[in-house]
Amino acid sequence: MRMLPVLSRLAWRYLWRNHRRTIIMVGAIAVGAWAMIFMTALTRGMVDQMIRDGISVLPGHVQAHNPEFLDDPSVSNRIAMGDEELAGKFDAMDFRAWASRVRVPAVITSERESRGVTLLGVDPEAEEEFSFVSYEDVEGRFLETPDDKGVVIGRKLADKLDTEVGKRIVIMSQDPDNEIADRGFRVVGLFKANMAAFEESYVFVGKKTAQKMLRIGDTTTEIVFVGDDYRNVDPTYQRVSEAVAGKLKVSRWYEVDTYLGTMMKVMDGFVLIWVIVIFLALSFGLVNTLVMAVFERIREIGLMLALGMKPSSILGQIIIESMFLLAIGLGLGDILAFASVKPLESGIDISVVAEGMEMWGASSMLYPKLYWSDMVLANVVVLILGFLASLSPAWRASRYEPVEAITKVG
């Protein structure tokens, strides 16, 4: 530590000895850091949106089911508590939103086609907060009350069934006694979802209508809770677990929807890989700069060693020089990234390529999201890798024999 001031002073002065080279390298690091953070913000925004949309489709942040339901999702494995009991338990718990719903496999039949679907009996008011269906964008109308007699299906499913708003379809499932439970519905609305699979798979009917059709009284099969942050669902999970006291199986969203959970993990991995790939490109410039910086002052390094500076101090000096270079570049890159992402956080219209994006669940508006954790990750990874990259030239510099270094023709 005693040597830090003198090493820092030497490193700083040597850094600016060839200021043109330093400025070019700082610029390269700044652009690299900006690219890392900006691209991460774009991807984060897109994946966040996809996950948020995905979570709001059905999983919410936390779900509760009959312990058997996830293995056998039939009404036989419904939640033993009725709507009133659930409301008494959860209304006072101040979740951002919660809702109980009927969710069972079913078959939908038009006069032309039949399809296997997931039947959702929902309370439209309770689910509006987190439903993936924008009620206003529904062609026709969405359900209005839990005992609405209409059905809302996806546009793609309507195409497959060759049906439309106003026509009748039949939905068929099983009641708790494994008897056929069916009912005719009039299509009152066609919803549009980000993912084509949602439009083909989900069918919405009123909760009470579904309960009546399935002959399950006022019980449901699924309770969904939404907390404040989908990345931190443990507080909600704890509260729900305590409230149901082992009677129900409580699951986090990424346990229920492993695709979305995997997507989040892949995104975290992608950010790291992206940062490392950019850094690898930068590292060639960094190492080259340091090798040149060492090469052009071999005599001076020899002189310092001859005067009594230890090889470890020479090593430290080169590493500090590298850290200065990286810190300035990263600082500028961070400022650039912040200045370029913040104005775009209100959304970028990518409707030109929206068709393709919607295929895999992204919306036509992209909301770049700058997370401090991503900025810190990019900075820390670059500093650590930069440290490692600078070890080789620094080590070489510290290994010079003073007498040989001093006599080098510079």
């Binding site: 002073r9 005067l307 009594g308 007498v403 001093i406």
Partner: protein
């Protein structure tokens, strides 16, 4: 007590297909407070001997003792400590650190030694005055003449009052007037502080200042005489 003792030093360099004997069984002893000139034609071995004494170069065989410590068996770290605490170097080419000012160059060794900033400043300004460079403390080497740079190098070598100063052709790039001033400074330091000087040179005028003149040829000592210094 001897300040420097070399026993049977040998050092061979390979140059192309030829082995060059830079030191060929060299033994010398220099007392504390000595003022010695090593004189030899180019390639005679004086710089190699100086480097061996300073722990910058390790001989192939033989022993080097500085102030009672055998240094040819020391580690790099121990040698660095020894050079830092006990030896001042003045090299032929000015060998200042170009990114530091005159004062910072002088303070460099003290800073590595861990001397406080106040004391460093006091000593560096005093020595700058002593070598006649008062007012030039903020100049970088590129902004000074050759003579001024060499005086800064001398100031750096002596500022922490080392017991031994090793100088390799210190006047090679200086005019005669500056050379005389530098040698007068060395002589005064030798007299007043009992600093031991070992100077490698082939400048006859410099040799005139020495109390003892050791002549070398082809890596061997061919003459060793005491003389009246100028």
């Amino acid at each position: 007590m001897s300040s420097v003792r070399c026993v049977d030093l040998c050092k061979t360099y390979r140059q192309g297909d030829q082995d060059i004997k830079a030191l060929d069984h060299v033994s010398i002893e220099i007392e504390e407070g000595g003022f010695v000139c090593l004189s030899a034609p180019s390639g005679g071995g004086k710089t190699t001997l100086l480097n061996a004494i300073g722990g910058l170069d390790i001989p192939d065989s033989g022993e080097v003792w500085i102030a009672g410590q055998r240094i040819d068996e020391m580690s790099k770290g121990e040698l660095a400590d020894l050079r830092l605490s006990s030896i001042g170097f003045v090299f032929q080419a000015y060998n200042l650190i170009p990114v530091l000012t005159a004062q910072e160059n002088i303070e460099f060794v003290m800073q590595v030694q861990g001397v406080s900033a106040v004391e460093r400043r006091k000593k560096s300004l005093a020595i700058l005055d002593e070598v006649g460079l008062k007012g030039l403390e903020n100049r970088r080497p590129a902004e000074m003449s050759g003579g001024q740079q060499q005086r800064v190098a001398v100031a750096r070598a002596i500022v922490s009052r080392p017991a031994l100063v090793l100088a390799d052709e210190p006047t090679a790039n200086l005019d005669s007037k500056t050379s005389d001033e530098l040698m007068t400074l060395f002589t005064e330091l030798n007299r007043h502080h009992n600093t031991t000087f070992v100077i490698a040179t082939h400048d006859q005028r410099v040799m005139g200042y020495a109390k003892r003149l050791i002549r070398m040829l082809d890596g061997r000592i061919v003459g060793d005489i005491e003389q009246d210094a100028a």
